[in-house]
């Protein structure tokens, strides 16, 4: 039962997205602009790029993630879909899990499309580190979407929701940002894994703690 609800929520979100292509296209376009703005505002040479690129990557990913997360529940406002979700007899945790999975997929898809652009624009050398980078993206994106989905649901029914989501979410995901930037920097520099392994562990701990907590607290948010 639980698994079916998760599947259906994910399926529903993917199908809507496939039909409208609203979220993915706006996320991609926004991220592309962020990349260009950054390269203009720092006028980067090769050396500066080495220093700054990990930070730029994660700022771009986090802000595009905000767009995706904000849309995740505000899309449900049309046609009172949210009230049906609230009123449905399905376990609220299953809805949460489905939403997390869908948001995670959107964000990861955008990241996988964007990362080659970073590689091209900033002349990065990533061939040997690609699997590690993917692991970092996976962990950090999961952390962002686990907390982000909770706060997307929390801010959707209040005034000024577009502003409140980043204001509430960004201070809370500071550990994810720090860990992701440091680990990405380590991987891009080709450092040996033990030098930045602690950041991966931190990401894993964050993910476990906040998936459990958000899963439990989601009940109280989607409560008619």
């Amino acid at each position: 039962m639980f698994r079916h609800v998760v599947q259906w929520v994910v399926w529903k979100d993917l199908l809507t997205e496939f039909r409208s292509r609203e979220t993915l296209s706006s996320m991609l376009f926004f991220a592309l602009i962020v990349i260009f703005i950054f390269s203009f505002s720092f006028s980067m040479n090769q050396q500066a790029a080495q220093e700054l690129i990990a930070g730029i990557i994660w700022v771009a990913f986090a802000f595009t993630g905000m767009i995706g997360l904000g849309k995740s529940f505000s899309a449900e406002l049309q046609n009172d879909c949210l009230e049906y979700l609230q009123g449905s007899p399905a376990a609220k945790g299953a809805i949460y899990a489905g939403k997390v999975a869908a948001n995670f997929m959107f964000m990861l898809i955008v990241e996988i499309i964007l990362f080659p652009l970073f590689v091209i624009f900033f002349n990065l050398d990533v061939i040997e580190q690609i699997s590690l980078l993917l692991l970092i993206f996976f962990l950090a994106t999961f952390g962002l979407s686990a907390v982000g989905t909770l706060f997307s649901a929390l801010t959707v029914q209040i005034r000024a929701r577009e502003v409140m989501l980043p204001i509430l979410l960004l201070p809370l995901v500071v550990p994810v940002m720090i860990a992701a930037v440091e680990a990405t920097k380590g991987a891009l520099n080709g450092d040996p894994l033990p030098m930045y392994q602690q950041w991966l562990e931190l990401l894993a701990i964050f993910n476990v703690v906040f998936t459990v907590v958000s899963f439990w607290l989601f009940d109280f948010i989607i409560d008619a």
Binding site: V147, L150, L154, Q157, I158, R159, A160, M164, I167, L168, P171, L172, V174, P175, I178, A179, E182, Q198, W199, L202, I205, F206, V209, F210, V213, S214, L217, F220, I221, D223
Partner: protein, 241 residues
């Protein structure tokens, strides 16, 4: 009309206020006049007696918010929600004051107003989380939903704090040159006694302020509902005939 708990709080609040004032005066006397200056930092170390209690109390206040939020989600008692709301506002106040006194202390000892020290940075983030909490509460019109959402935010933020602290600490050891030594003040017993008394006094002052602010929030809501009732009586009576 006014709940029994609130009336009892009102009766006993004076004790907290009086004890807090007594402890603070005694602590200030011991800290500023009677205790010797610190070996390394001299007179400037006396800022410790105000800064550390403020920081402790800010964390104590946030712990109250956290415990109260759990309790609210369990029992759904509006008075507990008032306690949480009051404690969050006070925690934001104490955090801001701890940051300001910390910056004033940092200038003569580290020769800079701000360093990206783990404690300073996580306190600044705590301040942002609390401001977000207070903002969230103003953006929701439905009182019950406001209480529920705020409780969720408070719980997530509280569990996040240690993780934020550790991540910033690791990040700092990577990026800061160790030339600025962030050695804590070596605590001897002569310095410890005023510090403990000030901490107790500040916690009691927080308790007193919490009682006051809880009453404030409770009473203003009560008054609002009362006025709403009067207003609706007025409207109905006009509409009826």
């Amino acid at each position: 009309m006014i709940s029994k708990v609130v009336r009892r709080l009102r009766r006993f609040q004076g004790w907290f206020g009086g004890l807090a004032a007594g402890c603070l005066v005694a602590g200030l006397y011991l800290g500023l006049l009677a205790s010797p200056p610190d070996y390394y930092q001299g007179e400037v170390a006396r800022i410790m007696y105000i800064h550390v209690p403020l920081a402790h109390t800010a964390l104590l206040a946030y712990t109250v918010v956290f415990a109260g939020s759990l309790w609210y989600l369990w029992k759904r008692d509006p008075l507990i929600d008032n306690v949480c709301h009051a404690a969050a506002g006070l925690s934001a106040l104490f955090t801001a004051l701890a940051l300001v006194t910390g910056m004033i202390w940092a200038k003569p000892t580290w020769n800079t107003w701000w360093t990206w020290d783990a404690r300073l940075t996580s306190f600044a983030l705590l301040f942002f989380i609390l401001l977000g909490y207070l903002m969230l509460r103003t953006f929701i019109d439905h009182p019950e939903r406001e209480a529920r959402y705020a409780a969720v935010l408070a719980i997530v933020g509280f569990l996040d704090l240690p993780i934020i602290h550790f991540s910033v600490e690791w990040w700092r050891t990577l990026h800061q040159p160790q030339s600025i030594s962030l050695r804590g003040v070596s605590i001897s017993s002569g310095l410890l006694i005023p510090l403990v008394i000030m901490s107790i006094g500040m916690s009691l002052l927080f308790a007193y302020m919490l009682i006051l602010r809880t009453q404030l929030l409770y009473l203003s809501r009560l008054l609002e509902t009362k006025r709403g009732r009067l207003l609706s009586q007025f409207h109905f009576s006009k509409a009826d005939p």
